[in-house]
Symmetry: C2
Subunit: 387 residues, 2 copies
């Protein structure tokens, strides 16, 4: 009787389902441990990062409705670690009474760049001129009107520099259009001063918080380094946060979303959206009052959101990628751990050339100090590849 | 062929075994995720905090050699989350070729208060006068010589105020000695200015780091609140760290250890040792460059240790315990999450009256601000119990 009464004093455990078991799910699970939340991930591979970290495994594919329903049946809410589930299937899960966060409407923005531009342009969000076409003449006309070079992107499925091409002239356009087939999103190159990302988190009840903007440094078309505070005036920073909140509200976001922006001489222009926790927010684990992962968990479970401010003067993150010959940078882990102040995150993924397999964060008395520490630690693991 | 070669590029995964699956193992597992380290815990209950967090389960008892050997057989190194394994069994594991950290010698200090005082007194560590006896006359004589009141403690097995009695006069001593049986550690009450704890971590190769001393506030004989920096002069702070390092070196520690100290008008006196990560080090998760849990993992795997300095101006931790009527404070979790800046840690344990089931940490621009936030958030969950 006593034991039964003690058992009853523990409320039932909440289960969070994640479609995808990659590093975002890994770090979401890690954050969920502090709230004693049970995490189950849907993915084909039992050796995925989140399952290695201890999340439960629901074997299946992210684009098979039966698998999605099997996941949803054992969860209080379902969320996403990637963009591979068609929005229509997310809608179907919702229609069958499952809670899905972000909803189909918000998720679709992260899946289709042209759709996102159409929706957010109509909502008054500033962005560069764009077109979506597979017509060679239309692309060339766009270049003549807005200036060369152009960037041509697949509207869906591209990431980390894949599915993006630069065209310096009509001849480039011709070869790209021939190679790709299907509609391409066309944009002029933007003369930006800074690239920013703002992670914004919104809960079911509409509570919304935005993190301080971080500055991102791309290398080969993909995020290489992130630091905070960004090197922009306070006014711009506040403007970027307001913009991110406006987008979150406009699309009824539930969960975390990264809003990537260009800072030009005169304005902030929308670049890309990622409707999930994001690489540009990894430094929030160490540098902010609440990490993007914990706030994502809180949001999708409709718990109060945590404070987002930086708790340190400066922070930086550098991605760790597989060597050009496929070597695993973590074979040199001890060199990185020996760099004082470096915070190593290893995803438990097999190394392939250029594949993100981890990241290093550092905090410090200044953003310069943090950048130096993170760069040194990441470099200590990359040394073999550079040789 | 290609796939085989990629697979080989991921080095074999390291497995850490932990005897015990409580909240220390839970938070150790959480830290180990960032290094992609596999964690397996030995405990009887499949519903223990560490297993709920995703550590693998090795069912068994901490004081059964067969169970310990079964754990050790699947691990690169074995460590501890409590003091329930006899030092002789740890020694036996080592003798059979398993790596055990801390070793039997260091672990014994945490298991036997009288033994620890004898060993460390001989090594020149300052401590209050003490005796270990079950003789009534000897205890009374100790009181007459060093002054009343006395504290009488079971040398082994006590924690969180259990196994400790206060004797104000010879009559008290008589009833305590009658009640307990067996030797008791006898000490005078110390007129201290502050109670401190220093977490020190030492690796196999002898690299040793000490955290900044934290100040601890006891309530009902157990840790209630911890904050950093401690309210002591820098000179005392450095002295406390040196003392902790000296003890770690003297006993050949491998892993994390908390050294609890009294600050008196003139000196630092050793109070207690815990030869494992410790409640007084929980705030290192958010407030220090490397958490005690990550440094414990690094130490027992003989990886380079991380920086220990505070990365924020002030930090505080308050324990969350079951209500006097056994209610679970986490039934009011949303109230605590609504306190801006509070970092909630829930262990996933059934609530019982006074049982530690979680803690709250806060960081802030000052230690006062951090204490206020942590106290407010912990209080928000305790409100029902106070009514």
């Amino acid at each position: 009787m006593a034991s039964g009464s003690l058992r009853r004093s523990r409320p039932p455990r909440t289960t969070l389902g994640i479609i995808g078991g990659g590093q975002l799910a890994q770090m979401t699970h890690q954050a969920a441990i502090s709230l004693d939340i049970d995490v189950v991930v849907l993915c084909p591979d039992a050796d995925s990062p989140a399952i290695r970290a201890g999340a439960r495994h629901c074997p299946g594919a992210p684009d098979q409705l039966d698998d999605l329903l099997r996941l949803a049946a054992q969860c209080d809410v379902v969320t996403l670690d990637h963009e591979q589930t068609p929005a229509a299937m997310l809608h179907e899960l919702g229609a069958r009474g499952h809670r899905v966060a972000p909803g189909a409407r918000a998720a679709q923005l992260g899946q289709d760049k042209a759709h996102a531009r159409a929706v957010l342009g109509a909502a008054g969000i500033a962005m560069a001129p764009w077109a979506c076409t597979q017509d060679l003449g239309a692309v060339v006309a766009f270049g003549e009107r807005h200036g060369w070079p152009l960037y041509l992107k697949r509207p869906s499925g591209g990431y980390d520099g894949r599915g993006v091409w630069r065209a310096d002239d009509p001849a480039d356009v011709e070869s790209i259009v021939k190679e790709t087939g299907g509609d391409l999103l066309v944009e002029p190159a933007i003369a930006f001063l800074h690239e920013l990302s703002v992670v914004v988190v919104r809960s079911w009840r509409g509570e919304t918080v935005a993190y301080p903007p971080v500055e991102t440094i791309q290398r080969d078309g993909r995020c290489h380094e992130v630091f905070a505070p960004a090197g922009i005036p306070r006014r711009r920073s506040t403007q970027a946060q307001h913009l991110a909140v406006a987008i979150a509200d406009a699309v009824g976001l539930v969960g975390a979303m990264a809003v990537e922006l260009f800072v030009t001489e005169d304005d902030l222009l929308l670049n890309e959206l990622a409707v999930r926790p994001h690489n540009s927010g990894h430094l929030t684990i160490e540098a902010c009052a609440t990490s993007q992962f914990e706030n994502h968990v809180r949001a999708v479970l409709d718990l109060p959101l945590g404070a987002t401010e930086l708790i340190v003067p400066g922070a930086a993150m550098v991605n760790v990628v597989g060597g050009i010959d496929g070597t695993d940078p973590f074979s040199r882990l001890h060199h990185a751990l020996a760099v004082s102040g470096a915070r190593i995150h290893r995803y438990g993924k097999a190394a392939r050339p250029g594949r993100k397999v981890g990241h290093v964060t550092a905090t410090g008395p200044s953003v310069e100090a943090a950048r130096a520490t993170a760069t040194r630690a990441a470099g200590a693991m990359a040394a073999v590849c550079a040789a």
